[in-house]
Subunit: 295 residues, 2 copies
């Protein structure tokens, strides 16, 4: 069993991004810039945005955070998004989710210029991705494909089972992996809460991706000997043996499952770092596309 070490892969990708940032900055006389809109005082959201700022700094990109009051109106937020859309000095724009309840998230997402939508949540980017057209791909599915690619996991013709049909992981990943081409060509089955005989289906998987957000759900008898297992989940569970009193676990019962796998992602340190680096990759791509035309 080998670990799909997301930290290692992310570091390697960051190096590529740094050299792109450097080249781009010299050519255009400024650094690529990511803008983040942060609404309200949710501590988790603040901490995520802070990490994204740090990540930008690490690869030499600029970031700018628009901190808005939790009481901002839908119209006010839309105006803010539109003004950033039109700001030529901004290459990528994210709106940190979730938004306060009185705001319509979907409308905000669809207000973002699709060419700056580095979270890849705009339906135009989703549609273009599904159709195999140039697009900005959501960070987690994009990061998973990069991780498999980094470790040279063969994909073509492999049976891939994706657990969970969320709009930000399961559905886009199923579409990505079944696309034509060298980073796709899997035969993908998408499973969800209504799937029957789940263990039978997961045992077919050469590549099994768990993304349903249920801690320790995938057990050894659900996994084929030699499978590649990617764990997207990350939850805190109580654990008396740790100092903090809790432990981070994924959707896969790592201790049980790992011995059966050819490759498996650790949690933490697997998909998480890949998701983070994907945002940087998308920001660089958005900057390049804006200035150099489609790639």
């Amino acid at each position: 069993m080998k670990l799909l070490d997301g930290k290692m892969a992310a570091e390697a990708i960051k190096k590529d991004i740094m050299s792109d940032v450097d080249r781009w900055s010299r050519e255009f006389g400024r650094k690529p810039r990511l803008a983040a809109i942060l609404v309200g005082d949710d501590p988790a959201s603040h901490s995520y945005v802070k990490s994204k700022e740090n990540d930008c700094r690490q690869v030499g990109m600029e970031s700018i955070v628009y901190k808005l009051s939790a009481t901002i109106s839908q119209e006010g937020l839309i105006e803010c998004v539109k003004s950033i859309n039109e700001d030529d000095g901004v290459d990528g724009l994210i709106v940190q989710l979730p938004l306060p309840e009185h705001l319509n998230e979907q409308e905000i997402i669809e207000t973002i210029d699709p060419d700056k939508d580095v979270d890849g949540f705009h339906p135009l980017n989703v549609g273009r991705m599904v159709m195999g057209l140039p697009s900005l791909v959501a960070a987690t599915p994009g990061g998973i494909v990069d991780l498999l690619d980094y470790f040279h996991i063969p994909l073509q013709g492999k049976e891939c089972v994706v657990l969970g049909r969320s709009n930000i992981v399961g559905k886009p990943l199923a579409n990505l992996l079944s696309r034509k081409g060298y980073r796709g060509d899997c035969t993908v089955t998408l499973c969800h809460s209504r799937t029957l005989h789940l263990e039978e289906i997961t045992r077919r998987a050469d590549i099994l991706v768990a993304a349903m957000g249920q801690p320790l759900f995938v057990k050894a008898d659900m996994v084929k000997e030699g499978a590649v297992v990617v764990d997207v989940g990350i939850s805190r569970v109580e654990n008396k043996n740790t100092k903090s009193g809790y432990k981070l676990v994924g959707d896969v019962d790592f201790e049980e499952v790992a011995p059966r796998c050819s490759y498996i992602t650790p949690v933490p340190g697997g998909v998480g770092p890949m998701t983070r680096v994907s945002l940087l990759k998308n920001t660089m791509l958005a900057a390049m596309r804006r200035n150099l035309g489609p790639i």
Copy 2:
């Protein structure tokens, strides 16, 4: 074995559309209108557009065809699409494909107002469909879901195998059938040219959809006893026993496969009529959404 009679289902759906057309026309003082752009002199394209005009007439809708020279420039065609986008008297707009080779189809499709895109080919509609948001769904996948619905085929938790990953049938259908809700909730596997052990996979299917465009490809030993089989293919093959010297066949070897099925679509008369009626349904939906707000 029962036939999934697309003609019968399409007639029933047409009746619903007719009553919607009638109600809408009385409320808004005009009939819903479909515009078609037809470029050049391809006889097949002319004949398809003629059928669409007839279909509109049958349900009481208006149609208008813009016949453009095969030598029209990309810019000229874009101008034409934009002027129809802005025409308040037009509810749905299709550009008959294929276009002459010097034209960029994808750019033309993306110029169509997504709210009038009754072919459902605009990536914004594809993305919205995948994400479970209100959208206009491409005619063939939409028609297949309607056909299964009309014959009360249970979908929830069923294993569905889709053969072929085209942007107009296989991919959108796989996404539709795996969506949350009563016309979805299947466990879908999307197969394609790179899929290995295909017969093994097709034999798992409770619902098997053949949409790869290879005449008579699906044989009896690829189908589970009692499966529901939907055949999207339609090809002419030589046949000395018919007056015309040819016969229309699907991607499924009907004579071999039918005895094993609980339900199967005939070819012709299965998916074809459903595809045609879906265009009318989308046009009606586009008209209603424009005037009554989202449904």
